[in-house]
């Protein structure tokens, strides 16, 4: 029996166990949508293809299963690009399908034609243009295999419209044959032995855990290693949740906006064990001074990450979970009481842990309240900017996949649509999206998707009417010249205005997020006082609808500590609130 390419597409997804896809129809994918119309696969209609990609990404990050998104050719396909780049930078398993003009029209600048495989070459793990319907099921099988194995990543499949309509027999391949692709899963025995020896000899060891621990499901192995050899653990932004922040070995996040104690510990350690992390510049700051006293062990499944930015003494290529299992067998029980005492002293002097009593509404107060009223079955997504860093700093993450955020690409407009995917993949969970008023406006159209698909996400906007992180940099490095970061600024504003607005009679905020929520059929709440925070949060969590809480916060609040870009980790700005 013969099937059309569109039917083969759906059959292949069913073979892969895909239950939900996120997309937006268009001319070049009508045959696929026509088949989807009558299947058990749920199609979630995003209002923008970028939204669809981020929804799929949030679904994938929170569930560990591949996210699937679908868009039409040309503008539909190009709108996916930011979502693919986001997933690529954070190693998220995503399979994106795009429609394409018929093969006979390829290369003629046909209506809604874009070379999407060419465009996404540098931001996908691999991509395909399907030329013959006979290749389709094999390509889909390969795409899911590539996206989900080794270092995960996005794969794009571009399917011309005539291929969707052409017929052939269907057989889903049992296995893939990719001679050029074979990730290394087990770490080299000798290297693991060397690492164990280095751990035995270290006096001030630190584990630096990244997103690879989350991706490989190695949180338990990480905890075992840390406890057995008594090694303090700091995590990257992507690694948040891989090591419980309530554990007394936790140093929490390191890097530009990391804790003081994590950054001091990394600066002073004699053995840095990097696990599934890639020495991002936001983590290392100045490479000359980063962990300069330390021998470095690096465990990663991607050989290309080893010694990419930082020369490594003991590289171990392999799946983090496997390597840690092997390493745990060799590592001996140890105590590092002197080192831990030193860290404890740093912790006590830290500004981040100090309570700032305040009458005005601060991000710290709001996020700590969210932490207080939510249980372990809560997943946090963030937008990008100050909101993201505050969310990273003030909420305590205790399990993997509980913090969902665009790390590598830093995509504003990511967190809100991602929260839809998170809720969609975890219907029982409470989902909070911590957002900025600037970021939320980049994909706020997905409110329609949330309402339509009955996804009761909670959005906490930390609204300062600024593009806050850029404003913070302008304050510190550009003498408060707030060029284009005030969202209230209008034509009649004086050119030198760079202050808060209390006596300046600034225009009302645009948009009114409460009205925006209501316009879509969601719930909107505005909070301006600390006394209103708790009840607003409880009301949101209890609601079965999407809720937007517009927290009007202190306008010029900054994120501290801060290591200026390219600076040394042990040289942090701690701000005026210490």
């Amino acid at each position: 029996m013969e099937f059309t390419g569109a039917e083969i597409f759906v059959k292949s997804l069913l073979e892969e166990g895909i239950e939900k896809i996120f997309g937006h129809p268009g001319g070049a994918v009508i045959p696929i949508y026509d088949v989807l119309y009558e299947t058990d696969i749920e199609h979630v209609l995003a209002r923008h293809e970028q939204g669809a990609a981020h929804v799929a990404d949030g679904y994938a990050r929170s569930t560990g299963r591949p996210g699937v998104c679908l868009a039409t050719s040309g503008p539909g396909a190009t709108n996916l690009v930011t979502g693919l780049a986001t997933a690529y930078m954070d190693s998220v398993p995503l399979v994106a399908f795009t429609g394409q003009v018929p093969t006979g029209m390829l290369g003629t600048d046909a209506f809604q034609e874009a070379d999407i495989t060419g465009a996404t070459l540098p931001m996908t793990k691999h991509n395909y243009l399907v030329q013959h319907v006979e290749d389709l099921s094999r390509i889909i099988k390969e795409a899911f295999h590539i996206a989900t194995t080794g270092r995960p990543g996005p794969v794009l499949i571009d399917i011309p419209k005539d291929v969707q309509m052409a017929k052939t027999t269907f057989e889903y391949p049992a296995k893939v044959e990719l001679p050029g692709y074979g990730p290394t899963y087990s770490g080299h025995k000798l290297q693991i032995k060397k690492a164990a020896k280095a751990i035995k000899q270290a006096e001030k060891p630190v584990i630096y855990a990244g997103g690879g621990v989350v991706a490989s499901g190695a949180a338990e192995e990480l905890r075992k290693l840390a406890r057995k050899a008594e090694i303090p653990v700091t995590t990257t932004l992507m690694g948040l949740g891989s090591f419980s922040e309530t554990d007394d070995l936790a140093l929490e996040m390191l890097g530009m906006h990391g804790t003081e104690y994590a950054n001091y510990a990394v600066s002073e350690t004699d053995l840095l064990i990097a696990v599934g992390a890639r020495f991002d510049d936001r983590v290392t700051g100045d490479l000359e001074t980063f962990a300069k006293r330390a021998k470095i062990v690096h465990i990663d499944i991607d050989p290309a990450e080893v010694s990419k930015r930082v020369a490594v003494d003991i590289p171990i290529v392999g799946d983090v979970k496997n390597v840690l299992q092997d390493l745990n067998q060799q590592v001996q029980e140890q105590k590092h009481s002197k080192w831990r005492q030193k860290i404890q002293d740093w912790k006590q002097k830290s500004v981040i842990s100090k309570d700032k009593t305040t009458k005005v509404l601060t991000p710290k107060f709001i996020i700590e309240k969210i932490d207080e009223i939510t249980d372990d079955n809560t997943l946090i997504t963030t937008e990008v900017g100050q909101n993201q860093m505050w969310a990273a700093q003030y909420y305590k993450y205790n399990k993997p996949r509980s913090f969902i955020s665009s790390g590598g690409l830093g995509t504003m407009g990511y967190g809100f649509p991602a929260s839809l995917g998170v809720q969609s993949g975890n219907p029982e969970a409470t989902v909070f999206c911590i957002a900025g008023d600037g970021s939320l406006q980049m994909n706020s159209q997905e409110l329609a998707t949330a309402v339509q698909h009955e996804l009761p996400i909670n959005v906490a906007i930390l609204n300062n009417s600024y593009l806050g992180m850029v404003r913070q940099w302008q304050e510190i490095f550009n003498e408060k010249r707030y060029a284009s970061t005030c969202l209230k600024r209008r034509k009649s504003c004086p050119p030198n205005c760079s202050g808060p607005d209390s006596d300046r009679n600034c225009p009302e905020m645009t948009p009114d997020f409460v009205k925006l929520a209501e316009a879509y059929g969601a719930v909107g709440i505005r909070v301006t006082k600390t006394s209103e925070v708790k009840s607003a949060l409880e009301k949101a969590v209890a609601s079965s609808k999407p809720v937007i809480i517009d927290f009007v916060i202190e306008r010029e609040e900054n994120v501290f500590p801060m290591v200026p870009s390219g600076g040394s980790l042990d040289n942090m700005l701690v701000g005026g609130n210490d």
Binding site: T117, G118, L121, P122, K125, H126, L129, I146, L178, P179, G180, Y181, D302, P303, A304, V306, S307, K308
Partner: protein, 158 residues
């Protein structure tokens, strides 16, 4: 320093673009690149000469290996190998210079493949230095046009 890297890839459309795009994106400088089929019609071989230190070479090798269509990457810089470059050189040749040019070409075991009243086209194969040396000698006569293939390289023995 210059490194010679031999890359076996799938003989499919778009593969060269993937490789060239990787080099430009990561800021690796290609000195020369030549590509052609191999004894296996499904496999092409690319010889890339890349300029940079050991760190660059390590990254080039690792990043190339990440591409799904790349089967094998070998650094053959330090291997004993046969290296060839082919050049076609069109040189000004008036009646006075003609015989001298022909002598030079003969010494280099080049071939004259086209003759006109005021120019010659010379074909030369050899390692990079030999081609460079001939180029240098012909320069004084006036080179009108020159085209080189880039290096291809094969490791000696089994």
């Amino acid at each position: 320093m210059k490194h010679t890297v031999a890359v076996l890839v799938a003989n499919k459309s778009g593969v060269l673009t993937r490789i060239a795009s990787l080099f430009s994106r990561r800021g690796f400088n290609i000195d020369s690149l030549s590509v052609g089929t191999t004894e296996d019609p499904k496999v092409s071989r690319i010889t890339i000469v890349v300029e940079g230190g050991d760190h660059v070479l390590e990254q080039v090798t690792k990043q190339l290996n990440k591409l799904i269509d790349v089967y094998k990457v070998s650094d053959i810089t330090n291997d004993s190998s046969i290296d060839r470059d082919l050049a076609l050189i069109k040189v000004k040749a008036n009646s006075e210079d003609r015989s001298e040019i022909m002598q030079v070409v003969d010494i280099f075991r080049g071939k004259i493949v086209d003759v006109s009243s005021d120019s010659l086209v010379i074909e030369i194969t050899g390692d990079e230095e030999k081609v460079n040396a001939l180029e240098e000698l012909l320069r004084s006569f006036g080179i009108i046009e020159l085209v080189r293939t880039g290096k291809i390289s094969m490791v000696r023995g089994g």
